[in-house]
Symmetry: C2
Subunit: 196 residues, 2 copies
DNA sequence: CAATTACGACACGGTACGTTGCGTTATTCC
DNA sequence: GGAATAACGCAACGTACCGTGTCGTAATTG
């Protein structure tokens, strides 16, 4: 039973220290001291192994309730950026993406062990609808993409940092897209220029 | 001299018929009848080969001038969706993404042979600014992500189709995010429900 | 204690990698 | 036309990882 944990730990170590490209069944077997056979028995193959290792190291962020959509999204996006700021996470995400596109099995794993958790955002949107901040006709699926899309584009594809001002501008644009109005401003008193 | 063309053609064929996973130097060598050595001499390796093949098969869409930002974006996005509707393109895109993240050389290729051309969108934005439709302070880089992001999220990650209504809603939200107002409506006379 | 289960060790054939040395054509340039 | 130069083909090399199979041993369980 300990073999499984050893394998997952070794996988995570290689992932962090050498990148996704260095993760192979044989490398993990060497590092963990577990026989290759055992890894195949547990995870079925490289895909299963990486997806399992990723799932084991992802913690679902909590959904804040600040009273406004803009406030909620600001907090959620900030947490997301913290996760996405790790290049390993982006690497693994991109890797999963390619695997997901080359077969239904991996695609199923990808959707199951989703890297970017949707939960908190959906909750925030539903609260905004309940408050009347968003129309009840809001297409939540579409809204998710409007919210996540720009950040994914910026961080994953461009691989560039986001300044505090850009972050806020993006947030305002997003809220604007959803509501048609400007969202609640960042509380001006404590001059926290949250990041960068 | 003809060897290069034969290699690129063979690569594209394998790409289309068997997917990115089947593309290997040896497979391309077999199929093209060109020696492995020659491929290495020309393209340096698998990365160079795939990037070159992708670049050779991408045609820059033209930037329409409909007189309004919403109109321009509608046309550009439509063209983009046509390209992205091919699962091979998405596969290759995702593959390039992973390669780009595991080394500066591939990253440089990725940014050079960009799959989604930015040109037309940038032009459309600049025209909108010139028209006064967008403020001159508009951050074009950020705007690009607001425009591309949701579509990338929807098509690449979700792998789901976009209905005509969703497409239009997304467009309106995007324009809304950029301008703060509703963009020009789709001309109502010819009831074209463009796709799906 | 016996039976099942989990694991380790070793080996196999197969594929692709990236590189090398050496012939064999084409081009190009007087 | 003939020589020099570049482009290409061929065969083989060692390395790495794949996925699978077999067998022996350790741990667990009833």
């Amino acid at each position: 039973m300990a073999a499984r944990a050893k394998v997952l730990r070794a996988t995570a170590e290689i992932l962090i220290q050498e990148g996704i490209g260095a993760v192979s069944i044989e490398a993990v077997a060497r590092r963990s001291g577990v026989a290759k056979t055992t890894i195949y028995r547990h995870f079925g193959g490289l895909d299963g192994l990486v997806f399992a290792a990723a799932a084991a190291s992802v913690s679902e962020p909590d959904g804040p309730d600040t009273g406004s959509l803009a406030g909620d999204l600001r907090e959620i996006q900030r947490q997301y950026l913290d996760i996405a700021s790790s290049s390993i996470n982006r690497e693994v995400f991109a890797w999963m993406l390619t695997r997901a596109m080359s077969g239904p099995e991996a695609a199923a794993m990808f959707r199951k062990e989703r890297v970017q958790p949707r939960g908190p955002t959906v909750v925030a949107l539903q609260r905004a609808i309940a408050r009347g901040e968003l129309p009840p006709t809001t297409n939540i699926e579409l809204a998710m993409h409007v919210i996540q899309g720009p950040l994914i584009s910026k961080r994953i594809i461009d691989d560039s940092e986001l300044t505090s001002d850009e972050f806020e501008a993006l947030l305002q644009m997003t809220v604007h897209a959803l509501t048609g109005n400007v969202g609640a401003p960042r509380e001006p008193s404590r001059g926290r220029r949250s990041r960068n």
